[in-house]
Symmetry: C2
Subunit: 235 residues, 2 copies
């Protein structure tokens, strides 16, 4: 019921292709390089911060980022871990509403916001596809609200692992965990220590295996799904 499959709708939006096909690249500015310019970030680097002027839209080529909001005293809430093909800054607000940092090395394509907005107006159907992508993001955000508001620590970890598995192929048994325990905690509304303890418990219970901290094997997917759906304690 609450399977948080990451949508592939955004993935199907081929911005680079549009840039070429529509011949818009050479209509905007002399500096063609600025259109779909490929940028690389090292792990830990900041792409943009909450409150910065939103000058560009990005599409991830490879790697994983963390998007988070922070409170003045440092408490963080990670709202997403965008990876391959996902579009960033879709919000099109004047200012970024979250900070984006690279977790791994990241390559992405950068599009000036003005170009992007013109593209939306000129390419029929694009707005509709972006709307579909935004809809899927909204649904994921609402699933996360249910998780943060009502699920137990163990249910949150189960949901998180299934989400990761869904990203790397729905049937994947071995799942890569590119983010730190602390990032996972800030995504799930827990502490690093609780995340670690729950991994240990689930390993103990035979639900998962942990060959290394960054590698998880899903041993009992049905049990994980029950936990994630909040049906773990039901007869």
């Amino acid at each position: 019921m609450q399977v948080q499959a990451i949508s592939n709708v955004a993935a199907k939006i081929d911005l680079a292709g549009l840039a070429a096909c529509q011949g818009l690249a050479h209509r905007t500015r002399p500096q063609v390089a600025a259109i779909g310019y490929v940028q690389t970030l090292d792990a830990g680097e900041t792409l943009f911060a909450e409150g910065d002027a939103a000058a560009n839209v990005y599409q991830v080529i490879s790697g994983t980022l963390r998007l988070y909001k922070a409170l003045p005293d440092g408490r963080r809430q990670i709202v997403d871990f965008p990876s391959a093909e996902q579009v960033l800054g879709l919000s099109l607000a004047d200012q970024h509403v979250y900070t984006a940092e690279a977790i791994t090395e990241v390559t992405l394509r950068r599009y000036p916001r003005a170009w992007f907005e013109r593209l939306i107006a000129e390419v029929p159907g694009l707005a509709g596809r972006l709307l579909a992508a935004a809809r899927d993001e909204l649904r994921a955000a609402q699933d996360q609200m249910l998780l943060l508001g009502r699920k137990t620590a163990e249910e949150r970890i189960a949901s998180f692992l299934l989400m990761l598995a869904g990203r790397s192929g729905a049937l994947a048994q071995r799942v890569a965990v590119p983010m730190s325990r602390s990032d996972i905690a800030d995504y799930l509304g827990l502490t690093m220590e609780t995340v670690s303890r729950m991994f240990a418990k689930m390993k103990q219970d035979g639900v998962i295996a942990l060959p290394s901290p960054v590698r998880v094997e899903l041993r009992d997917r049905a049990r994980l799904a029950d936990l994630a759906a909040g049906a773990g304690a039901m007869h």
Copy 2:
């Protein structure tokens, strides 16, 4: 920083006007009544449930609803309290992803989904405006994720009261609270009792007054804003 002003973008989408101006009403089906048909719900009535086929899109005319997701054992997370002018079912998914119930008596306009989708394709700029509305909803959802994942009970109540105040005019001192303590709890990831206790504490502290359970007066807006932003304990 985290002021959760409810966007008015959706409010500016005049679907009824579009239905008339575009002359689409009599192009879809003989039964014109089905286009923008006005529907009334009594308090407590269900508009649609999670999993139902999504046959219509709705726009609220008056009253307030609750949208929630539920876990099998009954735990609930309310994801929004839509009221006047807000568009429901914007997601355009095949199935509704949450349950919608009336909190007060509600009147709304109903549009068949097929008609709505055609409208998006035919009216230039509409998709863009819906995208902007979806973007604002997404931002609100991310603010709520920060609230649910990282804010204390008192900070949640402060955020909630400012959100309510923002809806009924930004400068409103007296705020109507149409939803029950239990609904507030399920929106903020707390229990009814904690909500009640925090109201009592803030009344004690002189931050608010409670002439009646459904009526709140904001006495110290600056303090409320500090609490909502998570800066309540900062020097």
